[in-house]
Symmetry: C2
Subunit: 435 residues, 2 copies
C-alpha cells in the first residue's frame, strides 16, 4: 500500500463511547473474525449501550427507541484530523455532507485569515475527536464523531485578499470556460472553502454551525450546499457510489493501493509551492441532473449514454464493474460496443493521456424548481495533484462530445488549493500564512 | 403491550438480501442473544456480503469501499406495509424523510383519486419490501429497504374534490389560527399528503421519485420538504430525538406499552367515520428555529425556556429524562423551579387535561436565508386520535405563553386524515373511496 499518512484509511472504530474514539491509534489487524465481531458488540454493550431487559439487539421485535448494538460503531468511528493530509479526501464517502464557501470580510487580511484558520483547525480537531467545543450548541450530544471530517481550502481570490499572490500556486488559475457551463457566480468560487462530511446529519450540522460561528467578523458565508450518500450498512455491496441517475459512479477512481495514487492526488514534498506539500486541489461542480428527461429514456438507452450497465456498472464490452473497458470492441455491424460519445469512454484515462482524479461526490436534492422539475443532482468534488492533469483536460473532452451532456447542467464551480494536514499545535495553512 | 397491529414495532431484520426482507412474518422472540447477533452477521455474509480477502469487517484498517458487515442490517430492515395501521407512525425515527403534498389535477375526482391510491399503495408495498417497481430508476439498487415507510393522508380539500364531503371527518376541520403563525399558504395543506422515511437518503429519494411519477396526470405536487434525524448507530443512547436547538425532544411521547396508547393515537373500530378505523390524524408544522438568537443564550437560560436540562432532558425539578416533572417545586425564593412559561410545563399533559399526541418529527436544514440566518428547524409531525384532544389545545396554550415562542416561527401547516392500513389486495383509502 502506498504511504499516504493518516488519510487512508482514516476511520478508526472507537470503544463505543464518544470520548473513546482513538483517532491517533495505529491501524489494527485488518482481518476480523466473527469472534471479533461478537467481541465488538460485547464491548459496546459494556460501554453503556442501552439494551434493556426486553433486550432485542438486532431482533424483529425491537421496541421504539432501542438501537441495534452492533450499529453503535457508526457513531464511534473517528477520522484523524492531524496528519500528512487533511481528512475528507480519501475518507470513505459519508452519508451527509455540507460544502461551504466564505469570503474574507472587508478589512480582513492575512492576520485575520491566520487567526480564523487557527480557530477552525482547533474546532475541527475537537469535533472530529468527538469533543464538544466551548459554548457548544449541544446538537451532537450523545452521538460520537460519526466519521466527521472537515477539509479546508483556499480559492484564487484568497491570495489577493491576504497579499500572498507570490505564494499562489500556478495550478490555481481560474478554470477555463466550458461551452456547456451555466454557472451561477454567486454559488461559485470564494476565498475559503470548507467541506464537512459525517455519517450522521446532526453531527454534520453541528460542525457547520460551530465553524460558521468561528468565522465571526473575519469572513462571511458566500454559499452553502447540502449533500448525501448511502448510509453505511444500507448496502452489502462495496460502496462505489450510486448517483441520482441510478448509475454507479467512481468505478475508475484511482485506488489507494495503486503505486501511483499519491503522485496523482497529493502534491509531493519538494513540489511547488512548498507550502502545498501533502496538499491537493479540489474541483467542485454543482451538476444538476435533468431527471425528468433522463428517466424517460429506457435503461438500454441510458446504458449507451454512459457506456456501462446500470445494474452493476460493468462496461458494455463485458465483465464486471472492475473489468477494463474494451474500447476497441465492435458489434456485428462493426460499430463500437461502447459508443464513441459514451460518458465512460470520453472520461477514461486511456483517452485522456492518463489524466486521473479522485472523484468523491455527494448527491443533492433541494426540492423542486418553479418549473416542477427536481432541483437535484451531484455535488461533484474531485481531487488531483494538478487540475491541468486531472479535471480540466477531461472536462474539455466531455464538454465537446459527451452523450451525457444533454441530461446535466453545470450550475456552479470552484477550484481550491487544499493544503496538507497539520501536526498537533499547528493549524491548516500555517505554512502559507506564517511563511 | 397494547395491540396495535403491525405498526409497533414494525421493523423486521431481513436475511441480509434485499428480497429477503420478511415483512409479513410475525414478531420474533424479543430477546436476542449475542449468539443470535453472531448468527445474523453470518447469515448476511452467506447471502453475499462483500467481505474481501483483505477482510476487515469492523476493523480500523477498513479500505475505502468496504462495508462493515454488521451494519448491513440497516439496509435489510423492513417495515410492513400491510396491517391495521399505516407505517411511519410508530416506526422508529428514520435518518431521512420527505414530506410532500399533492393537489388533485383539474378535472380529476373520486375515480382518479382511487386509481392513484391504488398505484401508490402498490408502489409503496413493493418499495418497502425492497422490490424494484416497473421502469425503476435504479437509485435504490444494491440497498435494502432501509426501514422505508410511506404514509398517505387526505387533507380537508380532498373531500370536496372527490365529492365525499359527507364522509369527511369532523376532526378534519381547519386548524384554528394561532397568533404566532406566519404561515406560507403555498407550503401548507393540500389534497393529499405523503410522508416518506428511510434510513438511507437514496432509498428515500428513490421512493419520492417513484411516487411522484405515479401521480401522473391525476395530481400535481403542491409542496415538498426534506428532513433528517440521527442515523441509527450514531448514538448508543435510546433514540429520543435531539433537535437542532440541541434539546431532547419527545420525552413525554405516549409509549406503545402504555395501556391507553391506542386510544390516544388511533381511531378505534366503531369510531367516526367508519372508514377511519385504525387511522390517525397528522398535524404537520414547519417550525423554523431562530438559531442565531437561540445560540446566543447561555445554556442555563435555554434550560429555563424549555424547563429541562439540555444535557440529558431531565426536568429542572430533578431526576432523569423519564422522571415526572414536579410542577409544584419551588426554589428558596418561592419561585417555581420549572418556570411558569417553560415550554415543557405548558405542553405537559398535566396542564392540558391529559391531551397527548405522538410527536414524530424530522429536523430540516435548507441552507441560508437572504438575511444570512439558517433556514433550519423542525418538520413537526404529530399523531393523535383527535386533534381537538391533541395538538389544538396544546398549541393554543403554547401560542399564548410559551417562552420558546421567541425563538421559533411556524411557517407552514397541514392537517391530514390518515386512514388505517390495508390488507394485501386492498389499497390505502379504499374503504373511503369505494364506500
Amino acid at each position: 500500500m502506498a504511504d499516504h499518512g493518516n488519510d487512508t484509511p482514516d476511520r478508526t472504530a472507537g470503544s463505543g463511547t464518544r470520548s473513546g474514539a482513538s483517532s491517533q491509534d495505529g491501524p489494527a489487524a485488518p482481518a476480523l473474525s466473527r469472534r471479533r465481531l461478537l467481541g465488538t458488540a460485547g464491548a459496546a454493550g459494556a460501554a453503556g449501550l442501552a439494551v434493556g431487559a426486553s433486550g432485542g439487539v438486532l431482533g424483529t421485535a425491537m421496541a421504539a427507541g432501542e438501537v441495534p448494538a452492533a450499529l453503535a460503531t457508526l457513531g464511534s468511528t473517528a477520522a484523524a484530523f492531524h496528519g500528512r493530509h487533511q481528512s475528507g479526501i480519501t475518507t470513505p464517502l459519508q452519508a451527509r455532507g455540507h460544502l461551504l464557501a466564505f469570503d474574507l470580510a472587508p478589512g480582513a487580511g492575512r492576520r485575520q485569515a491566520a487567526a480564523l484558520m487557527r480557530r477552525w483547525s482547533r474546532t475541527a480537531a475537537e469535533l472530529m475527536a468527538g469533543h464538544a467545543p466551548a459554548d457548544d450548541t449541544g446538537v451532537a450530544l450523545d452521538a460520537g464523531p460519526s466519521s466527521l471530517t472537515v477539509t479546508f481550502g483556499f480559492g484564487r481570490t484568497f491570495f489577493e485578499r491576504t497579499s500572498l499572490t507570490a505564494q499562489r500556486p500556478v495550478a490555481l488559475k481560474a478554470l477555463p470556460d466550458f461551452t456547456s457551463d451555466e454557472l451561477d457566480r454567486e454559488r461559485s468560487n470564494g476565498d475559503l472553502w470548507v467541506q464537512i462530511g459525517a455519517d450522521d446529519a446532526l453531527v454534520a450540522f453541528h460542525a457547520l454551525r460551530a465553524l460558521h460561528k468561528d468565522a465571526g467578523d473575519a469572513a462571511r458565508l458566500r454559499w452553502q450546499m447540502n449533500g448525501f450518500n448511502r448510509t453505511p450498512g444500507a448496502t452489502s455491496r462495496p460502496m462505489t457510489a450510486r448517483n441520482l441517475m441510478g448509475q454507479i459512479d467512481g468505478t475508475r477512481n484511482p485506488k489507494p493501493e495503486e503505486s501511483d495514487f499519491d503522485r496523482r492526488i497529493f502534491v509531493p514534498q519538494g513540489g511547488e509551492p512548498a507550502w502545498m506539500a501533502g496538499g491537493s486541489y479540489a474541483v467542485v461542480r454543482r451538476i444538476r441532473m435533468l431527471l425528468d428527461d433522463w428517466e424517460k429514456e429506457p435503461v438500454g438507452r441510458q446504458e449507451q449514454v454512459i457506456g456501462r450497465r446500470k445494474s452493476n456498472g460493468a462496461p458494455l464490452s463485458g465483465g464486471t464493474e472492475t473489468t477494463p473497458m474494451d474500447l476497441e470492441k465492435t458489434d456485428a455491424d462493426g460499430l463500437p460496443v461502447i459508443p464513441a460519445n459514451a460518458h465512460a469512454r470520453i472520461a477514461s484515462p486511456e483517452t485522456n493521456g492518463g489524466a486521473a482524479m479522485l472523484r468523491r461526490p455527494f448527491s443533492y436534492h433541494d426540492g423542486f424548481r418553479d418549473d416542477g422539475s427536481p432541483d437535484a443532482g451531484l455535488l461533484f468534488v474531485c481531487w488531483q495533484t494538478d487540475p491541468l492533469k486531472g479535471f480540466i483536460p477531461v472536462q474539455r473532452k466531455l464538454d465537446r462530445g459527451d452523450a451525457l451532456s444533454r441530461f446535466i447542467r453545470h450550475e456552479a464551480s470552484g477550484l481550491y488549493a487544499v493544503p496538507g494536514g497539520c501536526e498537533p499545535g499547528e493549524y491548516v495553512g500555517q505554512r502559507l500564512l506564517e511563511a
